[in-house]
Each structure stands twice: as structure tokens, then as C-alpha cells.
Symmetry: C2
């Protein structure tokens, strides 16, 4: 959920506008977008979004945020293409200004000048941003790695970064993702060699490769291997079809003529003539590969001998889901390959050091990563000569004020995540999540009783209904005894003329909850409902 | 959840009796135990449990299963000690027979003779079992690794395994956990060197080490480093205190005199005089380290400069929880170390090959691991000369019949997991879990209405109550409109004299569910309740 506002007097620019995926405890939530209250309150100052690259965690919140912050979007060509796909889906294409910026080109927004600098990442057209402000230059790397032999385009523009650094940079905001990993990240093109080897080893088998939809260079390399070994290519999975189509249209993927075939056409080819490229390398339940593995995909089914390449490393939290897919594919007789079939898109320690050597900033602000990664990054920055006091480990919402003289966290703005559930944006908060958590672990018991108006005589009930608690047929005794407990609680209240509903409800709740705990050591949600008839 | 029954005519012995921890989708479940229907039905044949080692996934279900299958337990000394702890907690000590068996010793159970053979693992006193049956010898490795320099006791008894193999082994059941990893697993004692280095590097700081409660050799090495560097030892976390106390009592841990102090005494010592050994290395929410990291531990709080060693690798599925703990500790200023501080307790590929070289079984039955691990193990077995048709990738519940002539899966017995939730064993099944899943993702809406007997006039309601759906205060309109939708559905039914409750309920459910989906793209559980007054 990357988003950074840079403000000077009456100008604000916003770097990136990403979403994040829900944590395990955010039950039922589809996605999380940033809180942009501060931008809304200062909408007159906001000059535009400058976007570093086309990954969901850098662009995904745009369709939601644009409704409130409708300012122009500036990005490189492929990034704009991917954003346009999103805008189309949300019917926002017509009302959103966007502009393609080339590497080396600068734009002026308010008092800022922003230069887009070529970098490498696991998606083409990634850019770092040199932001020229009246207070000095801010250099934002975005997500980056240093790839001397990229699959598409040129290596990161180290010369220009050196030149910018030489003239003096106030602050460096640099990617921390791989700051715990020593050494260098391998070149993307090293994966192509692995693909060639696998295609050679399994020349007779059908090959299925799963990878990230957005990794167009990875897909290009699969296409290259397919071309060498005379295979047709099938692309499966909605997000992959979307991005790859855009990448082909814009010339970021070279697809030989007559090579791409529709999934329906697979039956006309033999196994050794086919490679299927698909989403689902992270074990996402609804993605194509997971459905193929579970044998619920309508068009593709695994047969013994198929070779499945997982061309990605599980993102923390996805390990079990990925393992499940590997097990299912294995059980259906597929050979699953997942070693040396992926490289990271992020800079390791030596690359981060190189970035500091070129930029030599006055202030270091580690970004993109968990706290542990930013902390390790801070150690690297210190090693590279940035004084400890000039390194800022800031949190979401912190306002960091920088000048040539000093840097200081001077305030805070609202910054939490806004939960998106279905069409609702922000209507699921902590209370709702806490209830979902409670329900998920213990289920619920509903007690309904009808009381007569004025007299408070019991007219019907108490009836007890439960869901997610126990299988009632096997626990009839328990439920019957629970009813007796509730009856006694009711009698107790009513006999004492204790007829305030709040009191009756809490008496029912307390006594039933005690009884259930004693009998089962469980703690279901108890919901007493009183009707007045 | 390891458990294997071996049967010949009227004799059955059971190897291990483990539990497993719930999968993510087993909402609210505490633990899972094996279905032993087959053993219950053949209780007269069952001669005893023979246990390979004292880990939860090999002994944890005993207290639950013993209630039905009350036969003697045979295991090595530490294993029996740990089992006795469990029996005490469950009040089963008095009624359970158990016997300590030494390495090299054999016992006779029915027609079987079982010899306990020394192995190495991440808990002391691990044993392989040579089971002499009228049909031939079955060799079961249990969980094992080959450690030439173990911390406690002697290396695995490779000589005896060779001797048993030389005489002829019918079937080898061998650990598959690390079958995907090439090479050898490092010796446990290599971790001791890392500890010494860390203790030397951080001589002034307080050191906290988190590891598995059951890894007594690991704890011994921490104690050794503490002794060298003149630190007192505090042990924190209930399961660790239990196991370590047992290990000290039985002589499996050498604790120098006056070295172990109570957590309350920590305040009398300076940072450089202390090491705290604790549970929670897997990020388990209720374990000591997680509570310390979250600053909700009553007795220990992190201060800047503290050094925390995570002496374990995250088990798949726990990565995010571990990362959360690392982030929290880092934010409180602790230095967190987790590299080279752990070795596995399971055999890698070369060790598995060595086992096959010594045992040279007729049949190979890969055990202990997911399908992907067993499949890789099968490839190794084949490489080591076991014919493909003699390798059995069997599933839980499969009945494999072996003779010198042939091996074949000849049947199936009930084998799924029985879910334990609080005191309930097996009363939470698929329906309850499905409800919990539904509730967890979408929450619920309850509709209550009172109808008059005979006339079916609406006497009260419809009232709508929701939990885990939306924050009602912010969605008053939605809920009010929902009430109108329900009223219309009711009127429709009643006006047509469609007064069967089932029909009324499904009409309410369908119309409300349509309305809610249209408005929110959400799918809460809808629970119509009708009261007759």
C-alpha cells in the first residue's frame, strides 16, 4: 500500500497509490486502500500522481482514490497502459487525465520538477523519480534492482543517477525489500537459461508455467523458449491475459506470429507442441493454476507426465497454499519444478550500497518493506556514511520535514488502511472484524423470546438457534439444557420485576455463556433477541 | 498426526499416536487427532503402543485415544517421561501402563518382537523400530537424522541398522520430511558454536533465546554457552518449563548448580548476567516470546539493546507470524538474530540414501511428509535400487498387505482427522466449519418475526439484527431498506396463504440475499426466525 505525498508550500505531489491485500485477521476483506484524508483536506494543493511502476501495491488504489482526488497521473508507457486497464474496469477512463512520460523526461507540477529515471524491476518500464524541490532534490528509487542484462530495454541508468547524486541530493527514499539478503540479485535473464534447460529436458511433455501476471519479462522468456522448441503458447488467467495483451499491444512483449493460440485450440496440438502460461504461482485459491491443480478448471486438466514450473517464490504467508498446489499437482502425476525458476525484482545489500554510493544523500529514508527490512536498510545506510541522526525510520502517516539544515518528524496525518469489502469502502471496521473473528472461532447461539407488552409474560420461546457452534443433531441434550438455563434466567429477571430489556439480555447472556463454557470450554457469541408482542 | 497400525493375524501394534494442528480453514479448532475406529473395532487384538519419540505429532493424541484404546505404552526413557507429563494433565497416569525400553532392547507383543534402535533427532532418545513379524522384518525409522556429533548421547546406531538390514528387511518406512533437500543435515552441535559466537559478540547485552520447548539438546547448548559466559538461566513458557524440568530430572540436561533462576529473580542481575530461554520461536500468539514482543508479558519486557535469538526456522504457514514478532521486537529496539541458529532434525537426501544402503529393504514405504516429499523420497528409493513397483505411496487409511511374494493396497479403514474444540471431540464437523467460514467472511443477518397462531398475523417484527456484516450506525439506510424488503416478502407469502414456515423463511432469505448482494456485493448468512405467539 505504497503512497507518499511530497509537499512544499502550496504544492503536493503523490508518489504511487497502491493497495495491499488483507492480513489473515481481516476476515472477508477483499483489499485495503490507503486513507487519503490529508489529501482530501488539501485537495487544492494536489497537482498529480507520479507513478513508479505498474504493480498493484503501487497503482491498485487509484480507481478508489481518484473518486476523491481526481488529478492527472504521470507514468511511463507500460505503467499508463496497465493503469488504463484498471480505469476501464471502473468506468473512469473518460474522466481521468494521464500522461506518458519517457525516461529522462521531466515534468513540472506546482513548484516541483520530476524527472523519470530508468531502473530495472520485475515489471518493465520501472522508474525512479528525481524530485527537484525548492528545498533540495529528493531521489525516490521506487522498487528496483540492478540488472546489467535485462530481458527488455536497457539496464538501470546508473550514469544519470551518479550525475544527479554528484549535484547533491537532499534525501534518498530507497527500496528495503531485500535489505536482509547479502550480495546481488541475479539478472532476470538467468531464468531464461533455466527455462531452456527444462524445455530441453522435457521435450515430449506438455509444459505449464505459472508466474506473476505482471512479470512481462518472465513471460517473454517463456515465449522465447517456446519459440526455440517449437511450441505454441496458451495464456490462461484473467489478469495475465489483460496485462500480456497490453504488453503485446505496446510492444513490450515480442510474440512471434501464429504462436499464441486460444485455450480451446489446445486439443489440436500434441503435448510437445504446447506451453501454457498461467496465473496462480502463489497458490491463490481462485487463480487458474489452483483450479487446474484441484481439477475444477473447466478447460485444462493435468495428466500424468505434465511438467509444471512454478516461476515465483512464495510471498511470506502463501507458503502453505503453494505447497497445497504442489501436492495436488503431484498427486495427479505432474512433475513440479520450482528451483532456479525465479529471481527477485528487488535490490540486495550490495545493490543498495551501490545506490548510496551514487546518490550520496544527506538524509536516508528506507521505504518499501517491513520494519525489520527498514531497520537492516538503516544499518546499510549508516555503513555507507549517512550519519545515524540523518536516517529516518518513519511510520505510515508520519510527517517528516526536511531542509538543508535539519530533518525531523514534525507531525502525523491519518494513514491507516481503509478496508474494501464488496462494494463497501470503509464500512467494515474493527467492531465488524472483531465480530467476524469471534463468529469464526466459536460460532453463535441466538436466543429469541417474545414478551407480552406491559405484562412481560412470556408469549413464545425461549427458542435457541445456533450456527457454527456444534452439530445440533449430535448435541440435542446440550441445546435442551441450554434452553432450561435461559428459562431460569428469564424467570429470575421477571419474578424480580427486572424487566428492562438490557438487563434481561445480559442475564441471559451471562448465564448461558457460563453454562456453555462449563460444558464445552467454548465461547460462542450469544445473541439474545426479545420481541414485544 | 502420525499413527501406523501393524497387524498380523490376531496381533496389532500401533506405532506412534500423534496429533496435528488445525489447518487455516479449520476455524476455531484446537487440535486434530486420528480416527481410530479400526482399532476400536479390533480392540482385542491391540497389544500396545510403541512410540518412536516425544514430539506432539507422535504422542500428542495419546490422552484422547487412551480413553478408548487403553493398552500399554512402550518407549525410551525421556519419551516416557514426556508422555507421563501429558497423562498427569489428563488424570490418566494411574490407569495407563507404560514401560521404559532401552536402545538395543526388544519386547514381545503378540506375534511381534520390537527392537528399539538408537537414532538422532531434534529431541533426545529418538528410536527407530525393527519390528520382527512372521512375514518378515519391518524397519520404521521414525523421525531421524544422522548426527555424528550429537549434543547428548551417541550417534545413530548405523552398525546395528546394517546388521538388521544384512539379515533381510521386508519393508522400510522412512522419514520423508527433508527429501527435497540435497546433501546432509548439519549436526546439532554446530548450533552451539553459533551461540558461543553470539554470546561473545554481545557480552554486555541481555540475551533471549526462543526455540522449540522439546529441543532439549538445543536448550543444553544455550546452557553451555551461558555457563562459559557466566550467565544465569531463566526458563519461560509453560511447555518449556514442563519438558526441561523432566529432562533435568531424568538427566538429559546437565544444569550447573545455582544456574537456573526464577523469572522473578531477574531484577537482581545485570543484563550481561542473564539469558532467558523461551517458547514462541514460531510466532505462536499465546507463547512467551510473542507476548514479550507485543509488550503484554507480565514479567519480561524488551528494552533497547536486548538481543533476541530465534533458534528455529519457521514451519510453513508460520512465516508471517514469525515476521510479526521480529518486527515488534525490532521496533522495541531489540537486535534479532535468526541466521545459522537452527539445524533441522530430519535426514536430507544423502542421509536417506545411507539408510537405504544399510537397510536394503524389499519394499519402500515413504512416511512422514506431504505428498510432494513422499514422491521425492520415492525417486530416491528407486535410485537406491528399490524397484518402482515395490515403492508404495500410500494415503492415510490405506491397508497395505505385504508378504515376501508381493505387496498390495488391499483395502481402506476410516482415517480422517477428528477435530477437537474445547472439550468436544468430533462434535465439530464439516457443516459447523462451513458455517464458521461463511460467518467469518460475511457475517450474518438475523430476521425475527412473530406470527399469530392460526391467523398468521404479524404480531411483532420483522426485526433485523446483524453481526460482522456492516457497522450498523453507518448503514442505517441499508438496514431500514432491508427491513422493507423482508416485509414485502412476508406480505407476499401471507397474502397468498403461503404459510408454511419453510416457504416463508426461504422467501425471506432469497429476497433479502438478492437485495444485499445488489447493494453491497456481499453474501452474509441470513437466518430467518419465526416465532409463533
Amino acid at each position: 500500500m505504497n503512497i507518499t505525498a511530497i509537499e512544499y508550500e502550496d504544492s503536493i505531489i503523490v508518489v504511487d497509490c497502491g493497495l495491499s491485500f488483507p492480513d489473515d485477521e481481516m476476515l472477508g476483506i477483499d483489499l485495503v486502500i490507503p486513507d487519503v484524508t490529508y489529501l482530501k483536506e488539501n485537495i487544492d494543493k494536489v497537482k498529480g500522481f507520479v507513478i513508479t511502476h505498474g504493480h498493484e501495491d503501487h497503482i491498485g488504489a487509484l480507481p478508489y482514490i481518484l473518486k476523491d482526488i481526481n488529478v492527472p497521473i504521470y507514468a511511463t508507457r507500460l505503467t499508463v497502459g496497465i493503469i488504463e486497464n484498471k480505469l476501464k474496469e471502473h468506468n473512469l477512463l473518460k474522466n481521468t487525465k494521464r500522461k506518458v512520460i519517457k525516461y529522462g523526461q521531466s515534468i513540472n507540477l506546482g513548484c516541483f520538477r520530476i524527472e523519470f529515471v530508468r531502473t530495472n524491476h520485475s515489471i518493465a518500464d520501472a522508474a525512479a523519480l528525481a524530485i527537484y524541490t525548492p528545498a533540495g532534490v529528493i531521489f525516490h528509487t521506487g522498487d528496483f534492482k540492478i540488472d546489467y542484462t535485462p530481458v527488455f530495454g536497457s539496464p538501470i541508468d546508473l550514469q544519470r543517477i551518479g550525475e544527479i547524486g554528484k549535484k547533491g541530493v537532499l534525501a534518498l527514499l530507497c527500496d528495503s525489500t531485500n535489505s536482509e539478503r547479502p550480495g546481488y540479485t541475479m539478472s532476470e535473464s538467468s531464468v531464461g537459461k533455466t527455462f531452456d534447460n527444462i524445455f530441453a529436458d522435457y521435450a515430449k511433455q506438455r509444459i505449464i508455467v505459472a508466474t506473476f501476471a505482471s512479470n512481462v519479462d518472465r513471460v517473454q522468456q517463456i515465449i522465447n523458449s517456446a519459440e526455440k522448441f517449437g511450441r505454441k503458447v496458451v495464456i490462461e488467467g484473467r489478469s495475465m491475459v489483460n496485462i500480456i495483451t497490453t504488453a503485446i499491444d505496446l510492444g513490450y512483449i515480442r510474440m512471434p506470429e501464429n504462436m499464441l493460440i486460444d485455450v480451446e485450440m489446445m486439443k489440436n496440438y500434441t503435448d510437445d507442441q504446447l506451453v501454457l502460461i498461467t496465473t496462480g504461482s502463489q497458490g491463490e485459491a481462485m487463480a487458474a493454476l489452483s483450479r487446474i491443480a484441484a481439477a475444477i478448471h473447466r478447460k485444462v486438466s493435468i495428466k500424468p507426465g505434465d511438467v509444471v514450473i512454478l516461476s515465483s517464490t512464495p510471498i511470506p504467508g502463501n507458503e502453505k497454499a503453494v505447497s497445497k498446489v504442489i501436492n495436488e499437482l503431484s498427486m495427479r502425476g505432474a512433475k513440479v519444478i520450482y528451483q532456479d525458476t525465479h529471481v527477485s525484482g528487488h535490490a540486495c545489500q550490495e545493490e543498495i550500497k551501490l545506490m548510496y554510493s551514487l546518490v550520496k544523500p544527506k538524509y536516508a529514508i528506507p521505504v518499501h518493506g517491513e520494519y525489520r527490512h527498514k531497520m537492516r536498510h538503516a544499518e546499510i545506510a549508516q555503513l555507507m556514511g549517512v550519519p545515524k541522526d540523518n536516517i529516518f525510520l518513519i511510520n505510515s502517516g508520519d510527517v517528516l520535514t526536511l531542509s538543508q539544515e535539519k530533518g525531523k518528524v514534525t507531525g502525523e496525518v491519518p494513514a491507516g488502511g481503509i478496508l474494501v469489502d464488496g462494494l463497501g469502502i470503509g464500512d467494515v471496521g474493527n467492531i465488524v472484524l472483531r465480530d467476524r473473528q469471534h463468529l469464526s472461532e466459536n460460532g453463535l447461539i441466538i436466543v429469541v423470546v417474545s414478551l407480552e407488552k406491559y405484562t412481560n409474560n412470556i408469549m413464545a420461546g425461549p427458542d435457541i438457534v445456533s450456527r457454527g457452534f456444534v452439530y445440533v443433531k449430535e448435541s440435542e441434550n446440550l441445546m435442551e439444557e441450554a434452553r432450561v438455563v435461559v428459562e431460569k434466567a428469564l424467570e429470575k429477571c421477571l419474578s424480580r420485576n427486572n424487566t428492562e430489556w438490557g438487563k434481561i439480555k445480559s442475564e441471559i447472556k451471562d448465564s448461558l455463556s457460563d453454562y456453555i463454557w462449563k460444558k464445552t470450554k467454548r465461547n460462542p457469541m450469544i445473541l439474545p433477541i426479545i420481541m414485544e408482542v
